[in-house]
């Protein structure tokens, strides 16, 4: 079982890329599971065709200890297993602790042993702001981390911080930083800027996703590009990225 965490600045396109990777790899015959690790709980929206699934924390709140796997893991496009960790009421509670609790529940229910996915994607919010958001890269969870960035300063700054956090945890046997995914915003010298970041972080750009209207069009249909426009250039692009992710 390969376990991959996708990090990056908020709003950079992590969920769109992760959902397209899940869709592309499911079409290649892999059993894929995608776990959204963001209180917004919209990571799997396109895979679930716009249906908002109940989050792990919602179900724990509702059913207490009696939560079952069926209540928190749902089958989306092409059999992709979808789960959302969820989070507290905005403004109160603790989102980081929420991620930990959700992960512990999935483990307690034997999600990985019972569902036996070949691949698990953890789609993690913004930055490694506290212990909870480092949970997906802890020993036993993701083995590899990819960071989504554009050439914009704030996105690269966030990526750099995430790499530093991952390196800081190196002594603990956490997941390894495996490279950057450039989600292009069409800014000047974007590839060069991100290449420089890759060199500075001793990483590599493993794929470039160009800016393309088909992403928004697919979003309007509540689908991934891979599903909505399978023959488009963008779908090919996501499939190529999926191959590269599997090769690393």
């Amino acid at each position: 079982m390969k376990k991959i965490a996708i990090y990056g600045k908020g709003g950079i396109g992590k969920s769109t890329i992760t959902a397209n990777l899940s869709a592309a790899l499911s079409k290649k015959g892999y059993k894929v599971m995608q776990i959204g690790c963001d209180p917004k709980s919209d990571s799997t929206k396109a895979l679930m065709h716009g249906v908002k699934i109940p989050t792990v924390l919602d179900q724990i709140k509702k059913n207490g200890k009696k939560v079952t796997l069926k209540e928190i893991v749902f089958e989306g496009y092409n059999g992709v297993l979808c789960a959302e960790a969820g989070g507290p009421t905005p403004g109160i509670g603790c989102a980081g602790r929420g991620i930990i609790t959700a992960f512990e529940k999935l483990e307690e229910l034997g999600a990985y042993e019972i569902l036996k996915p070949d691949l698990v994607f953890y789609d993690v919010l913004g930055d490694v702001v506290c212990g909870g958001f480092a949970m997906p890269i802890r020993n036993g969870y993701a083995d590899q981390v990819f960071i989504v960035t554009s050439g914009e300063m704030m996105a690269m700054y966030a990526a750099s911080n995430i790499v530093a956090a991952i390196e800081g945890f190196g002594k603990r046997g956490y997941a390894k930083y495996c490279g950057l995914i450039l989600n292009s915003r069409d800014i000047e010298n974007e590839y060069e800027l991100v290449s420089k970041l890759a060199r500075e972080t001793k990483g590599q750009i493993i794929g470039v996703i160009p800016r393309n209207i088909s992403v928004q069009n697919a979003e309007r249909l509540n689908q991934t590009v891979v599903e909505a426009f399978p023959d488009s250039e963008m779908a090919i692009c996501y499939r190529d990225l999926a191959d590269k992710v599997m090769e690393v």
Partner: protein, 389 residues
């Protein structure tokens, strides 16, 4: 509010379970806490603390350490103490605050081990779970790490699993249980985790049979059966006939290598309610049924219920209110429980038979603990059965 405790204190929690397991080993134990959890363990959950010197530390976690997630400070302190103590191992334990802020105790342990070269074990103890979870985790973790280094089997060799002061106190119980088997021709290789050392744990894989004396030993029994093919007998030796029954079963398992949980026959709900540790309560019930013909005995599991050990009518106690509901149900005429629960009977016509339990009443009764093997326990059983001795 249904979980509010009016009569009972909080029961011993998982970090106390881990600490008590490691007490006899030559290691260094550090609870990552603000001092209160460590004080709770040494003051209330460890009868052996008084008059003994053991390297059990607290990290003195402060608000700013929690806010900043300053694991480095904790790691530095542990390494500094390790340099002067030269322990054979280090154990770092979580508590409520590290749990809430998401401290990764296993990751911290890995970092300490990398820097010191001393085997270091991380325990994600939370303080929100009962002691038996900590006991089970500690035993399995140490057996996994130190066990498995020997391939030869020792005929007649047995291990005792789940022996801790939180269930058996610090009287002669642990020695009595070991003596029972040694007196019957067995060699006790390792008694997890009282009166054992790391060498014993290493040799434990040579055993022919494991004897599980408390529910917390079941996880290790299952692990050792799967990993090293060692079958087990699940029962606490109690009284005279009850103890002999366990010895007979161990002999039987030596012959056919099939694991067994000792259950009484023809049992039914009602009459006697035993509230306590599941395995000990089960064994009391077996003795009452076999030696005194009392078949209507229900076990109320205070620390979680293992279905493999339970009868259909046994009860997984949720909270204190659940206990009050059982007492007022009119179903039971006799209650066997920690003396702290006697007050809950009020003026009900229920006979009370005190069975102190360290994990419930701490040091209030730990010097008045029952001797589990022999005549005194037999007299207690007869008293419950209403037979004059």
């Amino acid at each position: 509010m249904s979980q509010l405790c009016v009569y009972l204190p909080p029961f011993s929690s998982d970090y106390s379970g881990v600490c008590t397991c490691l007490f006899d080993l030559n290691g260094m134990v550090v609870i990552h806490d603000a001092s209160c959890c460590c004080a709770n363990y040494v003051s209330y959950d460890e009868p052996r603390w008084f008059g003994n010197k053991r390297p059990i530390y607290c990290s003195a976690l402060r608000e700013i350490d929690a806010i900043l997630g300053d694991d480095e400070k904790f790691i530095r302190k542990v390494i500094s103490a390790c340099d002067s103590m030269k322990p054979e191992f280090i154990a770092v334990l979580g508590s409520p605050v590290p749990t809430i802020i998401g401290s990764d105790m296993n990751g911290i342990a890995q970092e300490i081990e990398g820097k010191t070269g001393v085997p270091t074990f991380g325990f994600s103890t939370t303080g929100f779970r009962y002691y038996n979870r900590g006991v089970a985790e500690a035993m399995v973790k140490f057996a996994k790490y130190y066990g498995g280094k020997s391939s030869q089997q020792n005929p007649g060799g047995v291990n005792i699993l789940g022996l801790t002061v939180l269930d058996f106190s610090d009287n002669s119980n642990a020695a009595d249980i070991r003596n029972l088997f040694e007196g019957n021709g067995f060699e006790v290789i390792c008694s997890f985790m009282m009166g054992c050392n790391l060498m014993d744990i290493q040799r434990s894989t040579q055993a022919e049979v494991n004897i599980v004396v408390s529910q917390s030993g079941m996880a290790l029994a299952a692990f050792m059966e799967k990993e090293w093919g060692i079958p087990y007998v699940a029962a606490t030796p109690l009284g005279n006939e009850g103890s002999e029954a366990v010895v007979r079963t161990v002999r039987q398992v030596c012959e056919d290598h099939k694991s067994r949980v000792l259950h009484g026959e023809g049992l039914h709900d009602g009459e006697v309610l035993i509230l306590g540790e599941q395995m000990i309560a089960n064994s009391l019930r077996n003795s009452l049924a076999q030696s005194y013909g009392i078949k209507g005995v229900t076990v109320g599991c205070l620390f979680g219920m293992d279905k493999a050990l339970a009868q259909d009518f046994d009860i997984d106690i949720r909270d204190e209110r659940h206990i009050r509901d059982l007492i007022t149900s009119g179903k039971y005429s006799k209650l066997v429980a920690d003396p702290l629960m006697k007050v809950m009977l009020k003026d009900r016509d229920i006979s009370f038979f005190p069975l102190p339990h360290v994990a419930v009443s701490s040091k209030l009764y730990w010097h008045r603990y029952k001797t589990f093997i022999g005549d005194k326990m037999e007299a207690f059983l007869a008293q419950i059965a209403g037979i004059p001795m």
